[in-house]
Symmetry: C2
Subunit: 488 residues, 2 copies
């Protein structure tokens, strides 16, 4: 295996790309902007999806599936929504190819032109609310809490694997409620679910907040967000949950009879996370030797390597250890390829980010011990075979916690409170991370700050401290600080 | 709830449609030909998918995800493949909309025309083999056994929910091998996996066979199939597994160095099942009262109904029963809505096909018993609360077996061996089902039989008896019988 990963300090973007490509997580495809999620990357997505799906179901949601295509006219129904999404979409105009009469290949059959063009969904609010219209008549039909796992397409010219691609996989929740309070509560609840998932499973600390009007989802009244900090000091929007007010109910005429037999418009939320999370996971934990996957999301939690190669005695012990680990629900793989050398295997498993490696050699076995190496700190310990399962279980928890604490310390050190624009710029350039600053609340100022510094308003933290201050750019009065950062 | 399901005997197609619509499994969408899979239908698909996914992984496959879009030119690479799929596909020609300068809505931006049109995947052989070219260099890279869960689109004018829709969900396995023997073995193995799933989980008996050349997948050298029989005597192709020879390797130039350092073309298979299976499940078991779901695939296996409404005493017993059932891994739901009457609930759960209903009334409780009703036979039994979990577990197994045996008896009665064309037509019209007949092996005769009777050659059963005979239509010599049927 030729590892050759560019070091983070040399070129962070290239390091990221090397990790994704050489770790066989994803690849570019022949279709510009579309990625191939390779088995290693997809296994990670499956684990993330399964856990999220469980959390959605525990909070009372069910899954469904809506069409890939959206009639063009649907997009126009909600004014802000079309403004936000029409600019970057795949448009289907025909439904047939035919043999090229003048050549060898196939051409679009001009006789098979659609009366109305179809858009490949960039998000599904419109097609879903068109159905909700048929499903909701009375308050007894509410709340309606549906989630969909799907692919979506947003035409992108500048793409980066996982972080920004034309097609990506995601889930989108779409709920309908009888009252505003209930819808707001739902949007907040799902933000909490996302934050819990990010922190407890991905070991990725996040800040929960509200987007500024300019950064809101197209068609939302409020967008809640979780913002994470990557190792290069740039923020990553990791998930959003939208309170949509009655905008889509109005656009698709979705009304219900309330308990007093009066007709009302329905209240809505939508919320989503995507394969982008994989990019966030990589850029939160990994190092120059490869991926570091938190134990709770690792497809293989423990790899066992015979040193220097498998023997009947080693195989016997491995079988025993494997049995004990599996009995405790730990996923384990025995890398018994007799052709590859231990050093090669170590590098490969480090590249893949397997949390724990157990090395077993004959000399160790005579002493009744094995060598346990943890991926996060690279520390190695000699551990008795007796009780190895319990030791491993505790170590997996320890690694999970260490990854979170390490990332949190890194993040916390990079939230800089500033009170003037010079400090804002200095902190952003020298330290990166989040800049906590007063802002006058206007989109004009927000855009000016972006123009001058490339930093965007990431969010107004939930339960933000209210304090008098003045905008770092305009000096106008402000009631609270906002977090700015350069972002992916 | 207004039930109003058309009876099967009156109009089978309408009965099917009523069940799907009123059972809230699926709905038509605003996009012609595309369906909405509602939560009840999607829960069924999730259970099917999870079980299949497990079986794929147990047989050494991993999941990945490839792009939704296929460059138009890719389709032309394999001659038969383009012939089979280019006729019915969604074509993307543009990547942007813009505000209509003459009106209110949006129009396709003529400046955003793609240089090469993209096709929404009808199946992914081409885009996947384009990647395999980069992943396969040596025999050490083989076999490559990848599966994908995805949506695909085949433009269809005449659609039926689940059975034939423009967009549907499916899985497609795509494997690459060093030898022909290994690829054929893989194609056969996956046919066995499909058959096992159909029979053991869906309780749907199937006949394993090989397609005639005319019915082969476009680009395959052999197509293996599982064929099921629906209650109206029509066959349903429930899953196919293709031995693709070296066709796609040749089209995409995928070669490998063998152990003797010689370059060879790679051998391929592909195999898939889709949401069409849900249609097959419905038409194998269900009745005029609604769905009948086999216990192994039911989202809710047992529903408990208080009679006539919940009381503290009943709730106590239900809690105990629920605990015991869940401890045995049985999924159970307590329908404790105090407003709805038992009769309404019974009808609703029958419509949904819940395998077992437990009714609990005060009078029964005094005797220490509950009423257990099974959905398949509608039989009701008074059962002691003590030991109810074990009783239920056994009953679930019994229902699963009964459904399979019942469907198998129905199917076996409808395989008619005929030796002349008059008997062929009579059996097909009067009894329906499979007609086992000698055929001269030509596509010409196959198409003539279809024209005259609407029956198609479903398959040549695996391990078919070899016997001398003469074609029912042409009288020409034949070496084996083929199964014909009218089909979905």
């Amino acid at each position: 295996m030729s590892k050759v990963i560019t070091s983070k300090s040399e070129d962070y973007a290239q390091w990221y790309n090397d990790l994704v490509r050489k770790g066989k997580l994803a690849d570019h495809s022949a279709v510009k902007g579309c990625m191939i999620i390779r088995p290693n990357g997809y296994a990670l997505w499956e684990n993330m999806r399964n856990q999220l799906d469980l959390m959605f179901k525990e909070t009372g949601h069910v899954n469904a599936y809506f069409p890939l295509f959206i009639p063009k006219s649907f997009l126009s129904r909600e004014a802000d929504h079309v403004e936000g999404f029409a600019k970057e979409c795949a448009v289907i105009t025909h439904y047939r190819l035919k043999n090229d009469p003048n050549g060898q290949g196939v051409i679009v059959d001009p006789d098979a032109k659609l009366e109305e063009e179809l858009i490949v969904r960039p998000t599904s609010e419109t097609i879903i609310w068109d159905s909700y219209k048929n499903w909701i008549q009375s308050y007894r039909d509410l709340p309606l809490k549906i989630n969909q796992w799907a692919n979506v397409v947003r035409w992108e010219m500048r793409t980066r694997l996982f972080l920004r691609t034309a097609e990506f996989l995601w889930q989108e929740g779409h709920t309908a409620h009888a009252t505003k309070a209930e819808a707001v509560e739902e949007a907040r609840l799902m933000l909490d679910v996302y934050a819990k998932f990010a922190e407890e499973y991905m070991a990725m600390p996040v800040i929960k907040g509200i987007k500024t009007p300019h950064e809101r989802f197209a068609g939302a009244e409020d967008t809640y967000t979780i913002e994470a900090l990557m190792q290069d000091g740039k923020a990553l929007q990791a998930g959003t949950s939208h309170f949509l007010g009655q905008n889509f109910a109005r656009a698709f005429d979705v009304k219900f009879m309330n308990e007093h037999n009066k007709e009302e418009l329905v209240w809505a939320t939508s919320w989503g996370v995507s394969t982008r999370l994989i990019g966030g996971l990589i850029m939160t934990h990994s190092d120059d030797d490869g991926l570091i996957i938190p134990p709770k999301l690792a497809a293989t939690q423990v790899v066992v390597v015979p040193i220097p190669k498998p023997t009947p005695e080693i195989n016997d012990v491995v079988q025993k250890i494997e049995g004990e680990l599996k009995a405790m629900g730990i996923s384990v793989k025995y890398d018994d390829d007799p052709k590859a050398r231990p050093g090669f295997k170590f590098a490969e498993h480090e590249l893949q980010g397997v949390p724990i490696r157990i090395g077993i050699g004959m000399r160790d076995l005579e002493k009744g011990v094995v060598e346990v190496a943890r991926r996060d700190t690279k520390a190695k310990t000699s551990v008795p075979v007796e009780g190895i399962a319990t030791y491993t279980m505790t170590l997996l928890e320890d690694i999970q916690n260490n990854l979170f604490n390490r990332a949190k310390a890194f993040r916390d050190e990079r939230i800089t409170v500033v009170d003037n624009f010079e400090d804002f710029k200095t902190a952003l350039e020298e330290k990166g991370g989040f800049i906590s600053a007063h802002w006058d609340g206007t989109t004009e100022t927000e855009l000016k700050i972006k123009e001058l510094t490339k930093a965007t308003a990431r969010c107004i933290p939930i339960d933000n401290v209210q304090e008098e201050g003045s905008c770092v750019l305009t000096g106008k009065p402000s009631k609270q600080r906002v977090l700015f950062a350069k972002a992916y």
